[in-house]
Symmetry: C2
Subunit: 223 residues, 2 copies
DNA sequence: GTCAACAGGATTGTCTGACATTCTTGCAAT
DNA sequence: ATTGCAAGAATGTCAGACAATCCTGTTGAC
């Protein structure tokens, strides 16, 4: 009897791919906030039928990446600064906790991954590619959240970050923001590497406060 | 120019009602964990077509109230104790924060509502109606979360609590649990009424730890 | 008797097409 | 310029269909 390797590769359905494509499109800022999404257009663009598309839209609605108003259809929500602030606050709560937990339990091999992702961000930070900056920074957090020992914390964090992804690109392109971000992230990394839970929390908190401030500035100046 | 009264009463669609009915059915424990949901059955029971039902299911899937495995369809997830623990931990993080914030900002009128809901729980606690106990206790938390000044915190909390609703009924029916729960909740109330943020956090934390312990006991003994 | 292959039924994934309801927009009339 | 209306566009919902996949009970082989 061969060991029951639970390798049942769950077949990717059209549904999942549709959701993924749409999510990616939204997160990468393809649609303007407030703009409406037309079902028939999306159907032809994505090559799926309307029922399938609507299933995908419901998933994204539950993730709060789109809003569906009855009889008006799906649209990209325009985040107010108040909502964004509320999200940043909860994100701080979650991320600080995760950083602290991570400091006392990350395995050595994952720590190396964290260092790598920090290097990747360093490289991106010295360029002007703000998309690369956002992506590599997201990698950095992901590793921390993945090693905090609590998958729910990770899940909640992912949901929150997705909803403010719109700001992140803008704030990262503020002059000097990437460099100071790098310094803050390095602090977080050093604390985690040292296994210093308290320091990790502090560093994480500092970083979040600055990121929030940068987001506010970029919002006030832009649009 | 008259003030823009945003009174557009959004019409309730069949979709929303379907989701609500299903969610209620799940939360009230109508389905056994692990049991599968048959689309065609649900369609006839709810009186909706399959495309509509599937939209509703996607919403619930995103809320993690059901799982949809490709080619196997929707099912009620069977929560492992590890997952439940993870959820309780994040819930503690969120609820403690909310209680603390609430203590320093709840308006007098809402405080009275909180007191009322505490009385309601007191009455339920002295009965043997564990459903009423769970419901009134949920009211109590809801008021706290609604007055913590951060709607996102409230949203996250609701999502977490929904996922462990299965345990709550069971643990509340443990002998003596309702009464000690009452004492803990009264402590929380007193702290909030006194505007003592620190005490509110502590009381909330104590309550959560005990609730978690009760859930564990009921899980080990039950099933 | 136990285990493996198989056939049939059940269920899901997805599509097409349709129609009533509701929103939007442009035009006409005052 | 504002109001009212009508045509068009878009959504909400349904019915029905069919292939792909899963589950189950039966048959057959050892």
């Amino acid at each position: 009897m061969r060991p029951d390797l639970n390798l049942r590769i769950s077949p990717r359905t059209v549904q999942q791919e549709t959701v993924d494509k749409l999510r990616l499109a939204i997160l990468s800022g393809l649609f303007q906030p407030g703009s409406r999404l037309i079902e028939s257009q999306l159907c032809t663009q994505l090559g799926v039928s309307r029922p399938s598309l609507r299933e995908a839209l419901r998933s994204l609605e539950a993730e709060r990446l789109i809003e569906i108003v009855p009889n008006r259809g799906p649209a990209i929500p325009a985040l107010s600064w108040e909502e964004a602030t509320a999200i940043y606050e909860v994100r701080e709560l979650v991320e600080v906790e995760a950083a602290g937990r991570c400091a006392s339990r990350i395995p050595a091999e994952q720590l190396r991954e964290l260092e790598k992702s920090l290097s990747a961000f360093e490289e991106a930070a010295s360029s002007n590619d703000s998309l690369a900056q956002v992506m590599t920074a997201a990698d950095f957090y992901s590793i921390i959240l993945a090693n905090c020992g609590n998958p729910i914390l990770e899940e909640v964090h992912r949901g929150l970050v997705a909803r403010i992804s719109f700001f992140r690109g803008r704030s990262m392109s503020l002059k000097g923001r990437a460099q100071s971000s790098l310094a803050e992230m390095r602090e977080i990394y050093e604390s985690i590497a040292a296994g210093d839970e308290k320091a990790a929390r502090k560093a994480s908190k500092r970083h979040l406060l600055k990121a929030k401030a940068a987001a506010k500035i970029s919002m006030d100046s832009g649009v």
